[in-house]
């Protein structure tokens, strides 16, 4: 029956469900931490509003990201879906099976996320008390009854996201789907490049034009500057990555054949990898802007800003960045899982497992550096008018230790989406992958 197909797909494509599951885990974590605090702590009105906002963000981002990751999951099962469609599964049956898969994954992921969220919430409450956002005697009291509504919300949001994701693949003609499972060649079109250039140019222009506005208006407009730049970067992603490879090749050549292999594969995979650049750049740039606004203020005025406000700002940034990191890791991991045969072929052609992983590490390095450079550019263009209107300086300031931490976290996120899955996928002898 329906459940039969779904269970079958779950067993055969375990990798495909890491994406939806990790999204659901993070969502459950955020919901569990924020809702428990909302119910049990008598905090300031600002804090309570912020907690509600974080919970709503989590719900919204879950629908979006489960949709995106389920789409990748279905793509990995394209052949099975095509076979099932050919021998008699209607589009509706495929959609229901996909929704059921997402809902089934949501239960264990949600349960684990709920427990992790209790830990995170407990640690978070400590910092809130330290920053005067919660009363000194506030105690973190887990509320077991919250588990059921959190799982309910996850199942509903995941089902909605999965149903949306399944509409197109479920309607594909089986003959087309059977052929597409073999060959699919996306192109980098002129239209795409034009859109990207237009958005980047628009973002920079807007940034220049708001530099003389009042601080509040400039802050509001800065959000659109960043959005335009990030989406623009997303459009230009394949081109940017290929340029990065061209510029970086002399450096990569120092690593010999490994470096060349990595450069070649990033150039070939530039389109797929650029899907990970958008969340990566968005998260790093967003976090950079949020942090730099406070650190520059402290640096220029010589006195600390309102600590409570800054801490709430950082908390919200962390929630956004968590989801962005999940999206980036999943997109990268999807690319690696899609290449498992290629990695196996490298092995068959004579590369040791260490050499194969070294290639992947080099690729991760290219993506990390490109992402950081782009994010610095986006954050810089966004910040300059903000700090100019507020503080009269053009130069944002961020402490070196914070910068170093940012670089390390970004590298860790990229590695989690590339090196980690590659290491897990290359455990089996390569000849078993290419059967």
């Amino acid at each position: 029956m329906r459940a039969g197909i779904a269970a079958q797909a779950l067993r055969a494509h375990r990798w495909a469900f890491v994406g939806p599951a990790s999204t659901q885990l993070v969502a459950a974590m955020v919901l569990s931490a924020t809702l428990t605090l909302r119910l049990t702590v008598d905090g300031s009105p600002d804090l309570l509003d912020a907690l509600t906002a974080f919970a709503l963000i989590a719900v919204y981002l879950t629908i979006l990201l489960v949709g995106v990751t389920m789409n990748a999951a279905i793509a990995q099962q394209a052949r099975d879906v095509a076979l099932l469609r050919a021998i008699g599964a209607t589009p509706g049956r495929i959609r229901r099976a996909v929704a059921l898969e997402a809902a089934v994954v949501a239960l264990p992921a949600g349960g684990a996320g709920y427990l992790l969220g209790l830990l995170a919430g407990w640690a978070w409450l400590g910092s809130l008390v330290d920053h005067g956002l919660a009363p000194a005697g506030a105690r973190f009291t887990p509320e077991p009854l919250l588990l059921a509504p959190i799982l309910g919300v996850l199942v509903v949001t995941s089902t909605v996201g999965a149903l949306i994701a399944a509409v197109r693949p479920s309607r594909a003609r089986p003959a087309v789907a059977l052929a597409e499972a073999e060959t699919r060649r996306p192109r980098f079109t002129a239209v795409r490049a034009a859109f990207g250039l237009l958005l980047v140019a628009g973002g920079v222009t807007l940034s220049v034009s708001i530099a003389d506005l009042a601080p509040d208006a400039a802050d509001d407009a800065a959000f659109f500057v960043m959005l335009a730049l990030c989406v623009g970067v997303g459009f230009l992603g394949p081109f940017v990555l290929r340029s990065a490879v061209a510029v970086g090749r002399p450096v990569l050549a120092l690593a010999g054949g490994t470096g060349h292999l990595a450069a070649d594969s990033v150039a070939v995979l530039s389109r797929a990898l650029s899907g990970a650049l958008v969340p990566l750049v968005l998260a790093v740039a967003f976090a950079g802007v949020k942090i730099a606004v406070h650190t520059t203020t402290t640096h220029v005025t010589g006195r600390a800003g309102p600590a409570a406000e800054a801490w709430l700002d950082y908390s919200g940034t962390t929630v956004y960045c968590l989801f962005a990191a999940v999206a980036a890791v999943n997109t990268l991991a999807t690319v690696v899982v899609g290449r498992r045969r290629d990695l196996a072929l490298l092995g068959l052609a004579g590369a040791t497992r260490g050499r194969v992983l070294a290639v992947v590490v080099c690729e991760a390095g290219i993506v990390t550096v490109t992402g950081l450079v782009l994010a610095t550019g986006v954050a810089g263009v966004t910040l300059m008018p903000m700090v100019h209107t507020a503080l009269g300086t053009w130069m944002p300031y961020v402490p070196t230790t914070t910068l170093a931490a940012g670089v390390l976290v970004t590298a860790a996120v990229v590695a989690a989406g590339t090196v980690l899955p590659a290491a897990l996928l290359t455990r089996r002898p390569p000849v078993r992958e290419v059967r």
Binding site: I5, A12, L84, G88, R173
Partner: protein, 238 residues
């Protein structure tokens, strides 16, 4: 006309803006006939099979399959027609590799198709030489055994037509011959209609009728001669 399981009229299929993979193909396959479709790579034989079987929609012309105009059917109705009246054997990736032999054969029924009794399942597994292997995972079977599972799944619903796309393409001649004899037996014993695409003259020699495609057009439609004559015919067509 209604009891003719496969009828195509002025069939055309265009890919992209201008490439016609199939051009103005008309044919009728009467019940109980074993038809082989041959032609060079890119001659349109797989496209023809996909359009006849309702796996793809033609750009021009009409297809009647088991008495229904598939070019007019909506996707869900077309899917049910395939499930209930049509069997498929592809070159590879025929089966869900984490299911057992029996569950793969029962797949059309589990997707809502006609019920299959345990006796019918045992009979079909016996007919394809797999009795006793029902509980094995298909991932553990040999290539020839897997194709026999695919044939069993295609035949178990007693379909009006079985479409086979290079069913022996991945098999050695001996193993391939066993699979083809299964299809031949189904035609002779149960009156099943088979439309098979192949590039192998030895495979095509099992058929009753030979269709030859070149650049998307039907260039020959004859009684199937023996394998050497088929090879000669292919050489002339190329």
């Amino acid at each position: 006309m209604d009891d003719t399981p496969v009828v195509a009229d002025g069939l055309g299929r265009r890919y992209g803006d201008r490439f016609w993979a199939l051009r103005d193909v008309s044919l009728a396959v009467p019940a109980g006939q074993f038809v082989a479709v041959m032609g060079a790579t890119g001659s349109g034989k797989s496209t023809l099979l996909h359009c006849l079987a309702g796996l793809d929609r033609p750009t021009a012309g009409r297809v009647r399959l088991a008495g229904r105009d598939v070019t007019r059917l909506r996707e869900a109705a077309l899917t049910r027609l395939r499930r209930d009246r049509v069997g498929f054997v592809f070159q590879s990736y025929n089966l869900l590799s984490t299911l057992t032999v029996s569950r793969n054969v029962l797949l059309p029924a589990r997707l809502g198709g006609p019920r299959i009794t345990p006796a019918a399942l045992a009979t079909i597994l016996d007919a394809v030489g797999l009795s006793g292997l029902g509980d094995r995972l298909v991932g553990d079977l040999s290539g020839g055994q897997r194709q026999r599972v695919a044939v069993a799944r295609a035949l178990v619903t007693r379909p009006a037509v079985v479409f086979a796309d290079e069913p022996t393409g991945a098999l050695d001649p001996t193993t391939g011959g066993q699979v083809l004899r299964l299809l031949r037996d189904a035609v002779d014993r149960d009156g099943v209609t088979v439309v098979m695409v192949s590039h192998d003259p030895l495979a095509a020699a099992h058929s009753d009728r030979l269709l030859l495609l070149r650049e998307g057009r039907l260039v020959a439609d004859t009684r199937t001669p023996d394998a050497p004559s088929i090879s000669a015919l292919l050489a002339v067509a190329a």
